[in-house]
Subunit: 446 residues, 2 copies
């Protein structure tokens, strides 16, 4: 029976790809509040098209789109995806326009094809395949497709808190995934939390000639000094109490992690580095990836940034900083500790203009749903490399009490999510649909 479904997908890959091109053509950038309505309506239409009971749920921000297929089955499978994308800047680095998806060399390029519209389309088409071949779907199916993942899912809780019943499922497929440097498919069982903050300093009522720099206070210097105070030379975060309550990785997790090859040399080549931060390698590198929080500057702005020189003392300066959190860390708590740190170190004038974030979450490494995904993956791709957590973040914490999530998807190590020339392999896209169909099938026999 599943063979007919797979055969349908095999014959209809180009139709699915056309859907991806259509949805990836919409610049649905939550950070700029662009294209959100149009894209949410398109997702709604796609879910209705596969006969799901679909709905748009208003939030204070982007609407959440849901779909439900009640098969009267004992098991329920959930999909979590998002229809928003990162901004495409810097635009000049794209080889083809970011919102005109372009096929070349066995890949498709465009903002959002990897993160996360490619995965969304494979999941919709896997269900469509059952429908169009007239095969009974052996599980109940739920879709939750949000529109603010790239800005920290700031309003998803509006939806989840009102729809706890809908969140209940026996297993869920999280948004992303893909093949490793050696081609082996990977699954992630958890996500780090995040605390993202905009720091702002205003010292003068306007920009002033920089000849006044000897006597007027400097906003960019203050910002630089504050950012410097946050981290030691070993990249340890110097905020008092920042690491409080963090649990070390468990033995079961280390057992899984020890089997993972991080492909250090491949990563070095990919990122153009001669060594990792602080010379991290081996188990230390793995601990940083799977078990430790971190902090990075995502943006710096002040004064004149054009060509050549402009002798200006900027009146203000700002920085965007993200903190990645592990379990038992709370973004609001980090915000408080950051504020205390700034105040205690003479940076009362460094304002937290806004912040957002959420906690970390993990699905237990020995959960039976992990094996459902593994069996399905085996039939399409072969081996599955299981990571206890991703170093990435997402709103998994809103789901973790209701459904065990496993993240697999159609990306690969060249996908460049969040960067110019984002892309996926067409092969992964087509096989990704098969894997979802097989997860549905395996879950019916769980």
């Amino acid at each position: 029976m599943i063979d007919e479904v797979l055969s349908f997908l095999d014959s209809n890959g180009e139709r699915a790809l056309a859907d991806l091109k259509k949805i990836a053509g919409i610049p649905s950038i939550a950070a700029k509040n662009e294209g959100i309505e149009e894209c949410s309506e398109m997702v709604l239409g796609m879910l209705e098209d596969i006969n799901l009971e679909a709905a748009l749920h208003a939030t204070s921000g982007s609407p959440v789109v849901t779909g439900l297929y009640d098969a009267g089955a004992s098991r329920t499978l959930m999909f979590y995806n998002h229809y928003d994308v990162q901004p495409a800047e810097p635009l000049e680095l794209w080889k083809s326009p970011p919102f005109e998806p372009d096929e070349r060399d066995g890949r498709i390029y465009g903002r959002g094809v990897a993160d996360n519209k490619g995965d969304l389309v494979t999941r919709i088409w896997a269900i469509k395949a059952f429908l169009e071949t007239g095969k009974k779907i052996p599980v109940n199916v739920k879709f939750v497709v949000e529109g603010e993942e790239e800005i920290g899912s700031v309003n998803l809780q509006d939806f989840t808190s009102k729809n706890e019943e809908f969140l209940k499922a026996d297993g869920g497929i999280w948004e992303f995934g893909g093949s490793d440097y050696d081609g082996v498919q990977q699954a992630w069982l958890g996500l780090k939390g995040i605390f993202y903050v905009q720091l702002e300093v205003e010292k003068l009522s306007r920009n002033v000639h920089s000849s006044m720099g000897g006597i007027l206070p400097s906003a960019p210097q203050k910002l630089v000094d504050a950012l410097n105070s946050l981290k030691g030379p070993d990249n340890q975060i110097l905020i008092d109490g920042f690491y409080d309550g963090i649990q070390p990785l468990s033995e079961a997790e280390w057992e899984a992690i020890d089997k993972i090859d991080l492909h250090e040399e491949d990563m070095k080549e990919e990122y153009g580095i001669s060594q990792f931060q602080n010379g991290l390698t081996g188990r230390n590198l793995k601990e940083a990836v799977y078990g430790a929080p971190s902090s990075s500057i995502c943006g710096l702005t002040s004064g004149y940034q054009g060509e050549g020189s402009m002798t200006v003392l900027p009146g203000n300066a700002s920085a965007k900083v993200d903190f990645r959190l592990v379990e038992n860390m709370n973004p609001l708590d980090v915000r408080e500790k950051l504020r205390k740190h700034l105040d205690a170190h003479g940076f009362t004038d460094v304002k937290i203009a806004w912040s957002e974030g959420y906690a970390a979450a993990k699905t237990p490494i020995d959960h039976p749903f992990v094996d459902v995904v593994r069996r399905a993956n085996d039939k399409v791709f072969g081996d599955l490399r299981v990571h206890p957590t991703s170093s990435g973040s997402g709103p998994l914490y809103l789901f973790k009490d209701h459904v065990p999530m496993v993240s697999v998807g159609v990306g690969d190590v060249e996908s460049r999510s969040h960067s110019p020339n984002e892309s996926i392999k067409l092969e992964n896209f087509f096989k990704g649909m098969d894997r979802i169909a097989l997860i549905v099938d395996e879950m019916g026999r769980w």
Copy 2:
């Protein structure tokens, strides 16, 4: 005789103002290499129009425009001006377009009207007044009008080294000046030197998802740490040997300085501050203004700078930093010391992408030409407040062995040079022409 000249200027203020509007309408931005040719040709035409022997001198950058009137007189008066302007960014803060000069409330607004096209036009029109009234100009007159002052006069030396004879004069009027908070006119006898540098850090071959921030090196963090290392909390510059060889202000200078009221409260109000850097006040503030070098960040750039959040680990980061120098400091020497500092503090990967600058220079406070200017000023404006040096910079060091320069001009404390809504008072513009005509007259009787 001079009365007729002044009367002509009184009747023809609007014609002079029309010339200012015309030249200030050209966005001659050396930093962007825009409008330079057009503006240099216009200056050439204006000098030819007052019967000067005018010439365009090619350099590796913007041409230098000169004008010569040989009266066969014993004294020679020089004018130094520049026809380039600062970039107008941020454009959205201008109340009228920066390159469409706009008269309102007794002022004229536009990029360059204060710095330095207003002064250039007053000087040309003062000479024109002698010409049009048929009065003999009692001194030889020289104009040097360069086109790269706002980018550190990087190629002016191409001109000055080949034209040392032309630089000889008995007195010169430097580019700028204006009235103080209390309306009293000011003159400056010196300029600080400047060393302006672009620092760049590249740690990754591209921008990467910031979830990798726990293991990849961070370009913005490295830049921030390097900038932090340059200055102590008291704003002392921590570069080894930076202060070597600096002479304290002389007794004669302190005598003049002690008479100067810096109008601290007015300045605080103007810049929107509750106190100066490190609480400087009184003689300490004056020492910082007249006798000390300084350093300021003029620009910071890295990663995402738009609205909202983008979770990116930027592959590179850059900063523009200027150092203001006093006499006996050499920009090349500062560059070397900065490089040594960076290398010694673990910042070998912070590159000096480019730099430019020049040394400080001062005209002796007791030079007789200072009194020529004072007498002329007295007849138009009244008192003249003489500063031993400006905290600003300029290529005075190229002239100082050939001509004693005094800087007076048509600005005021609301002129906002280098900022949006740059402007001058119309009254200062009109009276400024008279003052120049009277300097010519006084110099003829020196």
